[in-house]
């Protein structure tokens, strides 16, 4: 019995079923930073209707699958983003919006915004543009769905394996690291 469920072939079939469910049911955390949060309402309402793809808003990190970093991320917000990300349940995905999350964008010499998002939390899909329009956002979601189906969206695993590296980067930027104790 145990062997029947644990051999590689049945695991593969199970993964296909799981990934199909995961890719067609993406709950996005209703959390917006910067200017890109204004692109989310048109994306999920009548005009562009992201619910066709099973994309839906979730109110708390516990229920969400996708964390959208919509635009520039100040150091103060980064602290909250890390907490929200760590409270989400595996598997979880991160999408970076706009050039601000890729290389700082127009805030490249600002003292208060981070320049590379993937140094602090793992990013599965980047959408470039300033800001990306809802079409681009939906294209990004479709790309994320492809990655999930192929089993390549493994940022959450990467984060757990390289936690020390991420913590080091996070603590370099956040001077006063006072995170409350919580279990993930």
């Amino acid at each position: 019995m145990n062997r029947a469920f644990n051999d590689r072939e049945s695991q593969k079939i199970l993964d296909i079923i799981k990934n199909f469910a995961r890719k067609n049911s993406l709950f996005i955390l209703a959390y917006g930073t910067g200017c890109g949060a204004i692109e989310i309402p048109p994306t999920i309402t009548s005009r562009y209707d992201a619910e066709r793809f099973g994309i839906r808003g979730a109110a708390t990190p516990r229920q969400a699958d996708v964390l959208l970093i919509t635009g520039y991320l100040s150091v103060k917000t980064l602290k909250r983003v890390i907490r929200a990300y760590e409270q989400m349940q595996d598997p979880k995905y991160v999408m970076g919006f706009g050039s601000c999350t890729i290389n700082g964008g127009m805030y490249w010499d600002s003292y208060n915004t981070i320049k590379q998002l993937d140094k602090y939390i793992p990013v599965d899909v980047y959408i470039n543009g300033c800001m990306p329009r809802p079409e681009a956002v939906i294209a990004g979601f479709v790309k994320l769905q492809q990655l999930i189906q192929q089993g390549k969206a493994l940022g959450w695993k990467h984060y757990k394996e390289n936690l020390e590296w991420y913590r080091q980067n996070q603590q370099k930027v956040i001077k006063n690291w006072r995170m409350p104790d919580y279990n993930w």
């Binding site: 103060k76 700082g104 010499d109 208060n112 320049k115 140094k119 006063n176």
Partner: protein
Amino acid sequence: MADLQKENLLLEVLKNHFNDKIFDLKVQRHQRVHLRTTTEQIEAVLLYLKEKLGYKHLSHISCVDWIEENRFELVYILWHPEDKINVLVKVDVDRLNPVAPNIDYIWPQANTYEREMREMFGIQFPGLVGRKELILEDWDDLPPMRRDFDTLQYVMENFEFRSGREDAQNVRETIAKRTGEEIPEFAKKYSR
């Protein structure tokens, strides 16, 4: 169009009341009067403008860093809802020992502006109530809006850039090179 009757009348009233305590008194343009005073007189001037002349609304308190002249300049922008006149009251603060009077008993909303200036420029307002942090969090460097705070150096020390864009760091220069335009020397620093 520009009938400056009301503005000149205000100028007259202020000149008679304060004499030599205010200076640089002038009508800048239609609906805008400019004057300058000292930190000792600023509360008297603002109270007089509010209580006697009806400048009820404090639009903004702004701060300018004149690093070459070693002073901060606070600009109080007042608005008269009936006469429709903006009054710009400017006051100089010493840059090495920046202390300005706290005026949040005149306009409660001044509290927020003063806290912001305390945080961003390091100007002290004696008796100002409120948390030390308004926008920044755990900031341990120079107040960031001061001009002697080098933003680029701070960024280079604390953040890392993604490699691959070294050829196009200076967009303005790249465009100028392409079109054969010459950038003047003073504009080069701000044309990145």
